[in-house]
């Protein structure tokens, strides 16, 4: 904790230092800029004044020089002119001598263009330029303005253009046009020795112009020589026109007043001109040097521009350099900050790591452990520090593991592996140990750092995870996990198999790829409403597989939250319920069929209790569903008429599972009906009967029609007794039964005695009534299972089945005859008839049915013959002997 505080402190100090130095540097840069700008400005101003001062001083000096030079040249001229006559007195009178003197003088002074001698009237007497001779010269006004013949005085005239007087012209102040290319100005003198002449010297102005420096050090001074009246004698400026008067009155007065000076005058264009002037000491002219301030300052401007440029460049370079240095310093400070931050982070990792961290010196002595050490091992830091034993605590891993570890670390700089250590309390700790050897630049190991990760809990968690993972992977339900943006992150194999998509196709896709368009929109709206609210949604989708087939899915979709309650995604668990859906539909169909079919359906459980009936059942039976549910199906039966059928039914069902047959039942109102029933047996997977399903329809009408037909075919319409055909059938059945049951059956052939008489006396109606009564008496006289048949007018056959002995046969025969013998009331009459009966017994009489009847008929004849109202047993049998073969007995 103190460590991290320390780091923070250093951090903020460093930051403050960095910011402070940056501010200082920026401040210094600003100061530098201000100083340089101020310096350059001041220097520039200074240079400007120096330039002006220099030019002022230069102009003044130059003016002085030029004035002196011109004046001295004129002094020299004056001297030479004076010497003309004094040196050569003959020249005063001799024109030839004078001409020679003039040429001599001309060759001495280079600025002399020509020398001319004027006579008093102004005519040229002679000239070194011969063309001038004979001319009448008008030099105009001369300065100084004195008497024209004042001796020994140099006087100056206005300038002329041209090479000489003859080819030239005096220039007037108001002349215009180009300045003349060549010219001169006249100077006159009257020599005291020859006052009759005026000597005119044409001075070459160009000579003095050429003496002016072409490009003076301070440059471009224009020199002008003016006569005192302001007439320009000559100028070094090409554009100046000699003879013109460019100075103002004020300027001339200023010059004449002060003789020497420097002025700043504005010219006609308003440009400030620096002007220096000086008057000649002895002559009526002055020299002016002039230069435009633009020209003076051009150099200064150029210098200033260069100064600014150099300063600007220097400043830029300095600022750039210092900025780069600042940036570098800042970067390195930031690096330091980052490094400190990393150290701080490293320290906090050390302090707060859940992994155990051990730091040892090069001798493997523990020098630091982190708090997790105490937590994991149970030992305090004090117990660990200085411990020469690197190992955490001896656990189950042997010394060999550590030997391997140190051996490996000598060759490589790190080792890692799983180790098992022992807690202070003796329990084992399994974990992953990584040991790094920290080396200095020379490659020597300076520290060992071990990080031990306690994997005990992780292992448990891993096992759980593995279990969960397996469960999800193998889940029979489709499981899909999406991001909060509904992008599929995971889908289990079941999902893939049920949707038909591959893993690559669904991962990163939206679950809407499954949509078939058949799921109602409201389902989705409901889904999003619920899961957006953090609730779980249950519902069904109609989805489409990749192959285009539709399937039904029951889904549970729920938001998945992390431990802090933030949404991390959605979980969908889905079941393919397509088959259920189909079954349900089929069931519904079946139910509908059952409900709507005209046939009655009855479903019973394994114990025969009704569990379901259909409306047709109610219509037929009159019982409502509620009437019959939970009751045995036998309740429908009419008394016990079905018992035998039922037994047969169960037997058949057991073996074949299906039975068809008829039942006699009674409706709720008691009326009888008969149904044709089809019963199916349902079994569960173990073969246990679960249900009986009976489908039946009412066949009462059919049955009655059948019975009626059967009656007509087998019964005597008058008496209702069996007819000959039925007798035949019954007899054969009785023979079969007797044979099977090893019993006897007797065939009694009987003819009424006295019936013809009744029929003849009382009529056929009475005969029929008699027959009906006799038939009823016969029926009553025999046993239930015996058959009585009428086979002719008054002939009856009685079959006594299941006879145990001859005695029983005798008793029945006797009873029959007694019943017949009783008087028969016929209206107002009463008739007495008796019966003659022949009897034979099977198998004592081993003949077939026809034979038995014939034998019995034959015995009846014997009874008739023996006196009527009696019975005779056929001689074909031996009453008390064992059964004999038929052939032998009758033979």
């Amino acid at each position: 904790m103190s460590n991290s505080t320390l780091f923070h402190l250093a951090d903020t100090q460093q930051g403050r230092l960095a910011r402070g130095s940056v501010k200082l540097l920026i401040g210094l840069q600003v100061l530098l800029v201000v100083l340089v700008l101020a310096g350059v400005h001041l220097t520039s101003r200074h240079l400007r004044s120096v330039a002006l001062d220099n030019m002022r001083s230069h102009a003044q000096t130059q003016t002085l020089t030029k004035t002196d030079r011109l004046e001295q040249n004129l002094n020299l001229l004056h001297m030479h002119l004076r010497a003309l006559i004094t040196d050569h007195p003959e020249a005063a009178t001799d024109a030839k001598a004078l001409r020679n003197s003039l040429f001599g003088l001309q060759s001495k002074l280079h600025y002399i263009r020509s020398l001319t001698v004027l006579e008093a009237d102004g005519q040229v007497l002679l000239s070194t330029q011969e063309v001038n001779e004979g001319l009448l010269l008008d030099l105009g006004p001369l300065l100084p303005a004195v008497s024209p013949h004042t001796p020994d005085l140099l006087r100056f005239g206005a300038p002329w253009s041209g090479r000489d007087f003859a080819r030239g012209k005096r220039l007037s102040p108001d002349a215009a046009g180009e300045p003349p290319s060549i010219g001169f100005f006249p100077v006159t003198i009257v020599l005291p020795e020859a006052p009759q002449w005026t000597l005119v010297v044409a001075i070459n102005s160009d000579y003095f112009i050429n003496l002016a420096p072409e490009h003076g050090g301070t440059g471009h001074l224009a020199f002008r020589a003016f006569l005192d009246d302001g007439t320009l004698l000559f100028s070094t400026a090409l554009e100046d026109r000699p003879g013109s008067r460019t100075l103002t009155q004020g300027q001339r007065e200023d010059i004449h007043l002060h003789h020497v000076g420097v002025r700043s005058w504005e010219d006609a264009q308003g440009v400030l001109q620096l002007s220096a002037f000086r008057t000649a000491r002895n002559y009526p002219w002055f020299v002016q040097a002039q230069v435009s301030s633009d020209v003076i300052l051009a150099k200064w401007r150029e210098d200033t521009r260069q100064l600014w440029m150099i300063s600007g460049t220097t400043l830029f370079v300095m600022l750039l350099t210092s900025s780069l240095l600042t940036a570098r310093a800042r970067r390195s400070l930031r690096r330091e900050e980052r490094s400190l931050e990393q150290n701080r982070l490293a320290a906090s990792v050390f302090l707060y790591s859940s992994d155990l961290i051990i730091i040892a010196d090069s001798e493997k002595n523990i020098i630091a452990v982190n708090p997790a050490y105490e937590k994991i091992t149970g030992y305090s830091a004090q117990e660990a520090l200085g411990n020469k034993h690197w190992r955490i605590r001896p656990g189950t891993d042997g010394a060999s593991l550590y030997n391997n570890l140190w051996g490996r670390l000598e060759r490589e700089s790190s080792w890692q592996g799983e180790v098992t250590e022992q807690h202070k309390d003796g329990s084992l700790i399994t974990g992953w140990l990584q040991v790094n050897a920290i080396q200095d630049e020379a490659g020597r190991v300076i520290n060992y750092v071990g990080v031990f990760k306690d994997l005990s809990r992780l292992r448990e968690s891993e096992a759980t995870n593995r279990k969960l993972s397996l469960a999800i992977e193998q889940s029979p339900s489709s499981i899909v996990i999406t991001t909060p943006e509904a992008i599929i992150e995971y889908a289990n194999p079941r999902f893939l198999s049920s949707s038909g998509y591959s893993e690559e196709e669904v991962l990163g896709a939206n679950p809407r790829i499954l949509q078939s368009g058949q799921t109602p929109r409201s389902t989705y709206v409901d889904l999003w409403t619920r899961i957006s609210a953090g609730k779980v949604w249950h519902g069904e989708f109609i989805n489409r597989r990749k192959d285009g087939t539709i399937y039904y899915e029951r889904s549970t979709i729920s938001p998945v939250m992390d431990t802090k309650g933030r949404l991390t995604g959605y979980l969908g668990v889905k079941h393919d319920i397509t088959s259920e859906k189909e079954a349900e539909r089929n069931l519904r169909l079946a139910a509908s069929v059952i409900a709507n079919t005209a046939e009655c359906v009855l479903i019973c459980d394994a114990d025969g209790f009704i569990i379901e009936v259909n409306p047709a059942f109610t219509r037929l039976t009159g019982y409502s569903r509620e009437d019959v549910l939970g009751r045995p199906s036998s309740m429908l039966a009419a008394e016990n008429r079905n018992d035998e059928t039922r037994a047969a039914m169960y037997a058949t069902l057991k073996t074949e599972g299906v039975w068809q047959g008829e039942f006699w039942n009674r409706r709720k109102d008691g009326s009888l009906y008969v149904v044709s029933s089809s019963v199916n047996l349902l079994r569960d997977d173990d073969g246990h009967i679960t249900h009986y399903i009976s489908v039946f329809s009412d066949i009462t009408d059919i049955k009655q029609r059948q019975e009626s037909l059967q009656k007509q075919a087998h019964f005597d319409p008058l008496t209702g007794l069996a007819n000959r055909a039925l007798l035949q059938e019954r007899l054969e059945q009785a023979i079969v039964r007797a044979r099977r049951q090893n019993q006897w059956c007797a065939v009694c052939f009987m003819d009424l005695d006295g019936f013809k008489q009744v029929n003849d006396t009382l009529g056929h109606k009475a005969g029929d009534d008699l027959l009906i009564i006799i038939a009823q008496r016969l029926k009553n006289a025999v046993r239930g299972h015996d058959t009585v048949a009428r086979i002719g007018g008054d002939e009856f056959v009685i079959i006594l089945s299941s006879l145990g002995s001859m005695d029983e046969c005798d008793r029945v025969a006797t009873r029959i005859l007694q019943a017949l013998a009783a008087p028969v009331p016929l209206g107002r009459h009463e008739a007495c008839v008796t019966g003659s009966m022949g009897i034979t017994v099977y198998p004592l009489d081993s003949g077939n049915a026809e034979q038995l009847l014939r034998h019995a008929d034959h015995a009846m004849y014997q009874a008739k013959q023996s006196g009527r109202n009696r019975y005779v047993v056929s001689n074909k049998i031996q009453c008390d002997g064992p059964a004999q073969p038929e052939g032998e007995a009758s033979g």
């Binding site: 001169f184 070459n204 160009d206 000579y207 050429n210 003496l211």
Partner: protein
Amino acid sequence: MGLACLTLSAQAWAQSGTSTPAHETRLQNILSSERLKVCIWPDYYSISYRDPRSQQLSGIDIDLAHELAQDLGVRLEFIDSSFARLVSDIQGNRCDVAMFAIGIIPERQEHLSFTQPHMVSDVLAITTRSNRTIRSWDDLDQPGNVLAVAKGTLHEPLMRQRLQHAELIAPDTPHAREQEVLSGRADAFITDYPYTRRMLETTDWARLVEPESTYHLTYYAWALKPGEPEWHARLEQFMQAIKRDGRLLKAARKYRLEPAVVLE
């Protein structure tokens, strides 16, 4: 050209053969007397110029004359001459050779023998800085202009022949022709390369006017009396030697005459 020179020289020698003692050639005379007399024009700046300030001689031909005397192993004596006096000074044996960059022109070849040329120059003009009319070579030959040449120089006959509009004046001396220009009586004077160097280097007012293409090339050499083949051959030998060994170029460089020097 060389052949023509030789022919001319031979004629000259034949005409004036009697004036030299027949028993001793000039070269033998020079060597025996151990004295070489060289005619110079002391006003020829950078060729053979006597500095008025120090009265010391300098110039390319002064240096080469010293080299010649040294090669011959004799004392050197300079005799002042000029172009005007050149022929008579040579013919009169005032000197053994004239070494002041003498232009080889037919008029002179009639009387003198020449070595192979060591310099060449076109015709050039000097005017004043202030002159407003003459700005280029073509401005020279215009009506109203006055041009000056020194009397007796090779330029006088050349310019008389060439000029069509301008007036030509020929003062007696080179100095006088400058004075004509300075006083404004003439606009420019005609001269050669070495003289223009002097004007431009020593005066403030001179301005050079050059022809834009070659106007008239003149070769400069040393002149000697015709009819002295031995002496002539020795001079030619010297001329070839200084061209070959760099003494000519060195001297030319010293007086800034490289543009005019002939090394082939």
